[in-house]
Amino acid sequence: MSDYVQMWKDLGMDLETHDALCQVLPTAFGDVYLSQENRPEAMGFWDFVVSEIHGIRPSELIEAQKNGRKVFGTFCVYVPDEVVIAADGIVTGLCGGSQFWVPGGEKVLPKSTCPLIKASVGARLDRTCPFFRIADMYVGETTCDGKKKAWEILGEDVPMYIMDIPQMKREKDIEKWAQEIAAFAAVVEEQTGNKITVEKLNDAIRIINEKRKAMARVFAATKGKNLPISGKDRLLMTQIAFFDDPARCAQMCNKLADELDERNAKGVRVFPAGTKRILLSGTPLAIPNWKLHHIIETSGAAVVCEEMCTGTRYFENLVEEDKTTLEDQYMALSRRYMKNNCACFTPNTGRIDDILRLAKEYEVDGVIDVNLKFCCLYDTEGYTVEKALKDAGIPVLGIETDYTDTDAEQLRTRIEAFVEMLG
């Protein structure tokens, strides 16, 4: 990593602890990523971003702040980036995906909180992640109970704005979410000092739609028999998309998609023929959570798609463009975001439909349904997911895990057995 020490100091970070993190990441990345063979060349961009993960993008954000721009940190794919971008603000994802931050979170949260929440709170309170220091405002949502209460604790340390997410998907809920988006827009305007106009919002909608389309192209490349990219690499692209500038993200994803299309045309692949095709469904895999992908892809199978917020839920469905009033635009945004199927909603049959559809589209041999430990919502929904898949004759393996490595061997046995079962 280049020398960012002064920047980290200025951000008030705990340098000593942060050093420990900086030391483990390159080894982990080397073991999991760089050991793969025949990776697409375009992955070089993401390798570079990871090698400077706490340096390069943070310094861009700080530059932007010096020019008066505001940075909003978000934790959920329901929070509309478009509104922030329309006010010339910047969005950065803030979900923690490393065990490194969990003990910090456990200082203030019950142990029986999901690791994603614990890591996110720990990263802030322990001052070991620049993104958590940089964000001018955190935007939370009322999705799961763990998050709702964690916001109250984080709110003592950093300005928080909470969006009230509906729990159902009736027309009145979609209207309500549109109102919440409008209210959020007012807060963003106040924070940034910039007015959101119809024109600016349409531009922002287009920018994010382009990013979605580009990511969809990368995903589409693994629908066919030939697998030109590993699941791990695709996951990395998705994870970084939460942090990057959306226009650059679209550009890089398109470049990668071009290369993958070319590889597909030439039959260049990263897995031998006959490798079992797995759809992962379930809770999000925040960076640097690569554990399951690594185990699966070193057990004779490949992850061809993720039905996750770090997967299809992030880019599927576009926002209708070219509306002529803000009111219509907020409604168009709400309609798109409310198509997302998170286990926080009831009923959530759309998610079952999604999983069955993706299993077909990606011609998977089996589904692994993943649950972050202590996520009661996805855990409970796992029953319905497994039942629907079994009824459809699609093999499914339910797995519960956290960010530690202590269960890696047990998981490997289960996953290898599942792959053996697939034939």
Binding site: K390, P395, E400, T406, D407, E409, Q410, T413, R414, E416, A417, E420, M421
Partner: protein
Amino acid sequence: MEYFIGIDIGSTSTKTAVLDENGKPVCLFVMPTGWSSIDTAETVRRQLLEEGIDPEKHACIATGYGRIAVPYANKTVTEITCHARGAMALFDCGDITVIDIGGQDTKIIRTENGIVRDFVMNDKCSAGTGRFLEVMANSLAVRPDELCDLAAMGGGASISSMCTVFAESEVISLIGSGEKKENIAYAVVDSIVKKVATQAGRLEGGGQLVCLTGGLCECGYIVKALSAALKRPIVTKSDARYAGAIGAALTARKGA
């Protein structure tokens, strides 16, 4: 003569099975796994040599949690697949539910038409495993098999905690309060059986032949209690503890 060797390195004991060309066992043996799976694999190799079988010269498959520690194995296959294959052969049935109470994990496997259809394994915690039984037997100062025999004569008491550590302190306070050993032993077995029955219930609605494999299959009372909990007969055999090793040897024979 061509032989097929299966080695099942479990967390507590290591089972070896050698089959002839017809799939008939020519030798079966078990030993403690000890601290190092690598050393155990070497002991197995030497014992095989004594029997006149050089594992390097015959097809050999390793399974179990120490499966990667067998340098002379041609391949590793998970214990799920091996237990299923071994049990199907032992009980001559392609549609079977296998309950294997192992040292560190308990697995329940359902096969249909001779192939694995579904399986569940307990998670990190050791409730409902052989380890749980061992720890409790220790607190009662008896051997695990004695604990089973005692349990058959007991009744009444119960342990509520699923966690081995908490359950152990429950056992200790039962001892302290003067509860009879038989009744405590009963409570221990009852706790394992309930946990395993719940897991099994998740996998299958009933109707299939159910068999018990693994080290506890020789304990008659567990088989009986489990049958009662599942409300159906459970079959077992003394060779059932070798199900994993036999399945591995059969896999070697299939050339897979």
